[in-house]
Symmetry: C2
Subunit: 226 residues, 2 copies
C-alpha cells in the first residue's frame, strides 16, 4: 500500500490546470484570491462585507465551495454580483478542475476580481493550487491562538492572515499577540489584519489591503515578463 | 486519472485494521470514543473537563492527534492519566494504523476507557474508522448553526453532538434550536448535549452521558454474540 505516488499524480494534474488558470487570470487582468479557514471562521461574512464595500459597477465574481448546501452562494448573491456555488459532494477541498468548470460559462473579459471561498477546512485546501494570486487564511479568535503552529501549512502558504471575530475578544481566552507571533513563527513577515465582520472594526484596513493588492497585481502583469 | 479505486483500497485497508482494533477493544472491555470537530471547537477542553471529573484510579488513556505540535498532549497530561500525542505531519485525519502503533506500548489490560482526539477537521476524519465504539462531534456555537447541513457526513456518523462554548451564546448570532433541528435533519434521533467547558454549564449532563454509555458498552460486550 503506497499512497504517495498517486497523491503526487493527482496534485501534478491539479498543478497543470492551476497553472493554466493562472495564465488565463493574468491575461485577463483578473486578481484571484482563495479564502481558506476552518468551518465557521467567517469567510462568507468577510466576503459579504467585501462585496458590500465595492461599487455596483465592480467587475467582481465569487465562487463559493461547500460539501453540501448552497447557503453561502445565497448569502453572497444578495449583493448583485455573479456568484456560483461549487458543491463538492463530500470532497474536503476545491481543486483547479472545479474552478475551471465553474468558470466555463462566465466571460473572463468581464472580470477583474475573482474571490474564491474554499470548503471550510484548515488542512486539505492548503495542498490544492487553484491558480490564485494569493491565498488568504481567516482565523476566528474563538478558535485559539495556537492554530498557526498546529496547522502550519496554510499559514505558511497564505499571504495574509485575517484575524476575525474581534468583537468576541473580551469573551474568549485568546492572546492576540501570541497569535500574531505564532503566525510569524511559521511565516516570517506574514501580513496580518484584525477585523470583526459583525462590529465592522478593521474593515477599512481590509479594504485598503485589497486596493493595494489589486494595484500591485496590475503593476505585476503590466511589467514585461522575464 | 481515476482516484476513487485507490481511495477505496486505502479505506478498506483502514477498515481491516479498525475491525481488528474494535475486536481488541471489546475483548479488553475498553470503550473507545473518537472526538471530531473543526479546529478550535473545544475537543481538548472537553477532554480536560472529562479527565478532571474522573477518579484518580480511573483506567483511562488518551490519544491526541495533531498535524504539528504536542500542545494538546501537554494540556491533557496534567491530569495524570496516560496520554500519547500522534503527530500526523500533514495528514488531515487519524487512521487506524496510527492508533494501532500508538497503542503498541500500552497494556490494554490496564484500560477500560480510551479517548481519541482527532485532528481538527470536520470533513476527512469522518471517513476513517478507528475501531471506536462511537464518534462524538463537537460544534462550537461560534461556528454557526448551519454546520450540520454543510458537513453532513460527520453529523450522520456521530452518536452524539456536543454543542460547546454555550457561554458565548449571548455574543454570537447562533440559533441553538435551528442547530438542533439541522443536526436531526441529517441524523434523526441524534443525541445532543449543550455545554460550556469554560463556565462548566452542562458538564454534569455530559458526565452522566459518559456513565450511561459506559454501562451500555459493558452490557453489550457481556451479551452473548449472535
Amino acid at each position: 500500500m503506497n499512497r504517495v505516488p498517486v497523491e503526487k499524480k493527482v496534485l501534478s494534474e491539479n498543478d497543470r490546470i492551476a497553472a493554466e488558470l493562472r495564465t488565463k487570470f493574468r491575461e485577463h487582468g483578473i486578481l484571484c484570491l482563495n479564502f481558506i479557514s476552518s468551518p465557521g471562521a467567517g469567510k462568507t461574512s468577510l466576503l459579504e462585507r467585501t462585496l458590500e464595500g465595492l461599487p455596483r459597477e465592480a467587475r467582481v465574481a465569487v465562487l463559493t465551495g461547500d460539501i453540501q448546501t448552497d447557503n453561502d452562494a445565497q448569502r453572497v448573491a444578495r449583493f448583485g454580483f455573479p456568484v456560483r456555488q461549487i458543491t463538492t459532494g463530500g470532497t474536503c477541498h476545491l481543486d483547479a478542475r472545479m474552478i475551471e468548470r465553474a468558470l466555463a460559462e462566465w466571460r473572463l473579459e468581464d472580470l477583474d476580481l475573482l474571490l474564491i471561498e474554499n470548503v471550510g477546512n484548515l488542512v486539505c485546501p492548503a495542498s490544492y493550487d487553484l491558480g490564485e494570486a494569493a491565498k488568504i487564511v481567516v482565523l476566528s479568535v474563538a478558535e485559539g491562538e495556537d492554530k498557526p503552529l498546529k496547522y502550519p501549512a496554510i499559514f505558511f502558504k497564505s499571504e495574509l492572515l485575517v484575524l476575525n471575530k474581534l468583537d468576541l475578544l473580551p469573551f474568549v481566552p485568546f492572546d492576540i499577540a501570541a497569535a500574531r507571533e505564532n503566525a510569524r513563527r511559521v511565516h516570517p513577515g506574514m501580513e496580518i489584519l484584525e477585523v470583526s465582520c459583525t462590529s465592522r472594526e478593521g474593515l477599512c484596513a481590509w479594504q485598503k489591503w485589497m486596493e493595494k493588492r489589486r494595484a500591485a497585481f496590475r503593476e505585476e502583469i503590466a511589467a514585461p515578463a522575464g
